[in-house]
Amino acid sequence: MSATHAIGDTVVLTGRSMRHITRSVDTIITTAIMPVAMMLLFVYVFGGAIDTGSVAYVNYMLPGILLMTVASGVAYTSLRIFNDVQGGVFERFQSMPIARSSVLWAHVLTSLVANVISLAVVLAVAVVIGFRSGASVLAWLGIAGVLVLFTLGLTWLAIGAGLSAKTMEGASAFAYPLIFLPFISSAFVPTETMPTVVQAFAEHQPVTPIVNTLRALIEQQPVGTDGWLAVAWCLGILVVAHALALAAYRRRSA
């Protein structure tokens, strides 16, 4: 199998799964609606009671909301894989003379595009309710880079979940704890206000350094060690999730 075929097959298959998104725009809306509702709730209801110093609250909590958007978006990635496996389409592709990796990569690319669109929708709403940032182009590239890396990691988790799920509910259930994770982090309230045990957890889970990094980039503050921690967590999640997904993939033909 030549490399050009692998790329060509990936392009054809990505075109196919992109149609699944453009023909059910509701998946994009559902992905964005929960984080947007959460954002409105925090900005207009809880936000007034939370002291975030000189930072506007909408700016403070946006990074956490963006991570939540990705976590709810990848549930659909898992569902799309699960439906392919369940409907036999996956086996049809596997028995065809195409690069086998292209079947998974098409889903990865589609997940990336779908999440970028959802993130853009959430960001647009944030701007409407008062989000402003003087961040440089370079800082925005950093923000985009971290978000893409985070999305890739969660996407491979979703692929593993979709390949090994037995039911439709099971395929998307893995995303719930991920959606919840930002609550026990520095995403909505400063961690210093939490009880010791909760604080210890909050400060040592991946969301906190990722949120801190995004926030520092938005606020034009120095990123510090959080930047390296964030990238390390994202890469770590990516490597582990990729290995888990490939293991789930191999189990299908053992």
């Binding site: 054809v12 028995s95 065809m96």
Partner: protein, 255 residues
Amino acid sequence: MTATATAIRVEGLEKSYDELAVLRGVDLHVEQGSIVALLGSNGAGKTTLVRILSTLLRADAGTASVQGYDVAAQAADVRESISLTGQFAAVDEILTGRENLMLVARLRHLPDAGRVADDLLARFDLVEAGARKVATYSGGMRRRLDIAMSLIGEPPVVFLDEPTTGLDPQARTEVWASVKELAARGTTVLLTTQYLEEAERLADRIAILHEGRIIADGTLADLKQLFPPAHVEYVEKQPTLEEIFLAIIGAEQKS
């Protein structure tokens, strides 16, 4: 090798899931251009055998080859020579029928995917439905589309795993016609079925898979000889419900 070449050769194939031995030494030879029906009850191992032959599953022991290529060592070559129609119509519901066909044509790297799709829509009587989402298709239409997708690129060997399970009698007749047409073009067909009538109507040879082994293999005439000689008996032939059903809808459609 004899005058007619062997398209599928299976020797001593074994496969277990944990403790459960599904295939326990399967031997099977399928000649080029023939239709062979693999007959067996549910759980006999038919699907397992087809999945090994189509490189989706690895065997524990024994060898299998398709068009001379070993399914384990030369999987990519095997995939060039086969197509699989699984137990459930593997079609993309969100795409239209025509898009499904074009998708497979592109993945088989054929030059004019649109024309390939249109030809097959015509051949399988799906022209009018071609622009509709597959989600709106009936069971028979899905199966026809599924089989049409399997023919793209004209693979010399086609596996059909229970192609008519869950179809109404009319759709079943349509699928049978498609399979016969395939064989008429020289394609080797290995189909699994639990319907005796299906095997009898379609197959040149019938192999019976029972408890993980092929316990009988031959033409219908060969298999009939395994039974004691027929004795003559006079019975009044009643039409079956299926014949009545088909006669009534046939009349309905003509009027």
